[in-house]
Symmetry: D2
Subunit: 340 residues, 4 copies
């Protein structure tokens, strides 16, 4: 198996995260071969050529699909393009990895789901990177080993540094707002750890630090209380206003114990004891926090292809996370509980 022909992959989109994925695919994913790169930005293609030695370069997605000899595409484009690009590739018989969100609305997601279903022999992989982070994966393993008994509540948050808030304000129309942009991973984690589906959401929040979010009908800090099908529940929150670092953490309560993942977002194992107290520097952003996860998910994508396996994360997971994200947004904007 390991000595089989490599999986030829075309990466699409070479922004900051695209570059990360491209470098991983080029150098660190056994069995994978970065065969082509596609971007509408000429300087990004130059980067791919100079830094990664990729010679098959495209500025047009369709042209890449037509000309390049590929087994799979890796979509790291803007959110609005994910669904159409994924469907097109699936229907041409390619394996597809797409960054989240799978689509910018539920209809798009369902169309992707259908495309994945009618090409069921192809691997379709949504980039819910946290599932592939070593700590989150370890927590899942402990749950499967019943260390905490039966899980009934998840509390999960995504928190970004305040210094990115100005950029995020401009990004709201494209991103769909704080719930869709920041909590999609938390929704996915809650479903994954609880093994159940969201029935109701009730959201609150405000623009406590940056009033500009209010002007675009969004918020800088939010909390959602979600009810699940079997009475389980989740508290999902987001913040754009942290000063210490990117602070993604998750807590799972079970009938015999509690797991907490990442409560202090320490940058590394160094502690400083000085005039500011006993302290730890924190990770700056999700790139830093989930660098291993990004690598692990790419490896798992390639391994699934080579071993003919389905990934643990499905197209339906992508639809569900988007569906719940929209319900949260509705609840926040309408000021009431929303049923799904």
């Amino acid at each position: 198996m390991k000595s089989a022909a490599p999986v030829k992959i075309g990466i699409v989109g070479l922004g900051r995260l695209g570059k990360r994925h491209a470098a991983n695919l080029r150098y660190q994913v056994p069995g994978g071969q970065l065969a082509a790169a596609c971007s509408i930005a000429p300087e990004e293609l130059s980067w791919a050529e100079e830094e990664l030695g990729i010679t098959e370069l495209y500025s047009d997605y369709d042209e890449m699909l037509n000309k390049a000899d590929l087994d799979a595409v890796f979509l790291v484009t803007s959110s609005a393009m994910h669904a159409a690009q994924a469907i097109k590739a699936l229907d041409r018989g390619l394996h597809v990895f797409t960054e989240k969100p799978m689509g910018v609305n539920v209809d798009e997601c369902r169309q992707v789901e259908q495309a994945a279903a009618r090409n069921g022999e192809k691997v379709f992989f949504v980039g819910f990177v946290r599932r592939y982070d070593p700590s989150y994966a370890y927590a899942k393993k402990l749950i499967e080993e019943e260390v905490i008994g039966e899980p009934f509540m998840v509390r999960s948050q995504t928190v970004d540094l305040d210094e990115y808030a100005d950029f995020q304000v401009e990004f709201v129309p494209a991103s769909g707002g704080i719930f869709l942009d920041m909590n999609v991973h938390d929704i996915d984690l809650a479903r994954w750890f609880l093994g159940s589906e969201v029935k109701t959401v009730y959201a609150r929040g405000g623009s406590y630090v940056h009033k500009a979010f209010e002007d675009v009908n969004d918020a800088d800090n939010t909390v959602v209380l979600a009810g699940f099908e079997d009475g389980k529940m989740a508290v999902i929150s987001a913040s754009r206003t942290a000063f210490h670092g990117h602070d993604t953490h998750t807590e799972i309560s079970g009938s015999r114990g509690i797991l907490k993942i990442g409560m202090t977002p320490a940058k590394n194992r160094v502690e400083v004891f000085d005039a500011y107290g006993a302290r730890q520097d924190c990770v700056k952003d999700f790139f830093e926090r989930f660098s291993e996860g990004f690598l692990n998910e790419a490896r798992e994508f390639v391994n699934c292809i080579r071993e003919g396996r389905k990934p643990g994360v499905s197209a339906n997971d992508g639809t569900k996370a988007t569906e719940v994200g929209f319900a949260m947004t509705d609840s926040f904007r309408q000021g009431k509980e929303i049923s799904i």
Copy 2:
């Protein structure tokens, strides 16, 4: 001031917490003098005589008020008796410390508030012990020093060991249920840290571990999302099913930083590194966690009396906490948002 006559105090109720308060008043509260003890349980009076050397002992509250030479009463009776006993003592010109809750319904609380108002020269003190815990008090000081800017969100929880759950089931009718019994302190903390009043509450929960709570229309794990007057918010949760210890912790988010209080409920400064990992034993119950707070609040009560000061916590704080606790209960039972 310090050499003035001591404040003569009669303690009422000598259960587990009453004994703790009595011993504190007897030995550790400068300026206070435990002058009398009242209990309907003869063995509790014997304890007071033998262990504390108290000779003025009463089995009837009215008799104590009539006969004993007192400046103040310290009420540690069952919740249903707090309001009537407090009003009676206030109206006889005594200073009053009452354990929470101030009353078992909002009407009772308002009557106490009125009694406190018409005896405005007397010190009336509700035992919101967490405000007097060194860590909570330190957090308040940091907030006043604007270390975290403007606070806009509080997350606070009260969590008890699972081994007490069977006892708690029987106690539900008297205690009013999980929200009134366990979250009154969290509500008070949220109001205190945010400087704002609760407008709406939305509760969820379930009997995930002990089905017996469901039978009495209660729960063993709950979460409430509360909206405050100026758009601030709080997440308040409770659990009766912990295995590691009593885990009361609180987080305050502000515009420039976050404070967390007691995230790991360590029993002390000892860590054990053995076959179970790197670990800390945890506090067993609120007695252990708040032993300093119980002492500090008794001292503050006596100091207020001796210095003619009003305590930081008012009768209205007691009413508000009860009012919100009832709204939470309503929200949980009716399955919808409740406005206050």
Copy 3:
């Protein structure tokens, strides 16, 4: 027992630590009665009168012994006076608590030991306060429960804030230097936890931050490697140059696990997450760190008297700690291993 006559105590020395002990004895030690106070500083006696209401005041130790009706003395005078005052009180039939060190040289210590021996019915108590700190006491309990098997190595340090260094330089001639002044508690802890006696010491150190210590043949940071009778060992270190706080911590290695006590000297349970990272403020000095220990040791002293018990810490413990402290000093000054 509890209702027996109180133990009448005369405190001697009312500096910073003396005031702390006096207030504890006055208000917080059941069964103890602060009956008299002695100080050569008139303002300290005024403090005792005004703050504690003590009326029996002496400026002369002998006069107090002659006139006051006492069961015990509590010596918090300068180190050079401990031995003579302790011997005099013991030989007059009083129970004695003395702050460490028991004497400023080994001969003095042995004389105190003999006085304690010939007055064997009296309680003699050396203030090795760390043994009475809740965390250190808990560690001892875990060791007795064999949680870590057989202990074979102790690592213990005493670390003070750099801001006190200038004061400490002047204090070196009286204190005997860094080993005697700062490590006496660590030596006592190592003996206590290992149940064995020091045979050899090998010291290193330097004046890395404050050259003034070198001028008085002392150091600002030191480490000692000590060998014990049965091959066990200890690493004992001291620093006068911390910027984060008073950082006393201790680690005990055993055949089945390791205990660590106080690795982060957190001021309380509050964590701050802000632009400086994830951090905790630290305790400022040993007063803050060991406030409970100071209280617990005074209570244990009184309980020993009332119950006719011997304290866990003996006069010989005081001699041994001093003896080892001198050997450490010799080793540092001579640059070689010293046998005891």
Copy 4:
């Protein structure tokens, strides 16, 4: 630069660590190409062929040097072979990476140093992996930024799980004992962080848990107090008897603060709160702890070759660490301070 021809590397030795390095070089080191593998164990060569797809396989080192088209060798053989193999490769014009120790005695090390010197245009790299661990590298950066002022003391330890002790007993004759086998990295770190050379060492230790070590003139727990040229110092310890995990940690004291690296050897970011307390699982061995370091050092080796740079770690660093390790062993066995 990045698009230049890859560095062709032959790995020598495919035991557990050799396999790790081989897989890193095969899949994760940009610019490197695992061109050949050499092992005396046929099953290891089969592994290289099947798992890594390496077809140029040798059972004889000289044959590989003669026949294979290589730019560099990567030596992961047994310690006794490092020096001779390194010298031979250097003198044939190859770049050399060698695992520690550089040689099994100081003479061997000096011969390697000379070979490196006479082939000065070649990259010679000793695998002091901790320097390439992200946390240790971050600490070095903070020191260079003068966050803790001038460093004057290092405390560093290497601690292994007790379950490996039986294997380690047998390994003592080949490894040279606990100081050479376990503390070589700590010695290197102390020199690196302090920027100074060891002058004296004083060692203590014993076979506290496994008496078998005593029989081979070795120990299962040791501590060394080392003096450096400018009066700086280090405390270096080792243990073979931990039950919680591989616990390598290091502390650096400076004139304005202290850095601690890895004080709790947490396996990941997961905390478990259950009947055993609040706890973290720990890393099992140095493979798990330093997996990133092993990768980073291989990348740095290749980058040095491609960029014509000298690595931060030199042949002389290898000699010095071995020299100090022998002095520690002598001190332990002779029971006295040893000067270097």
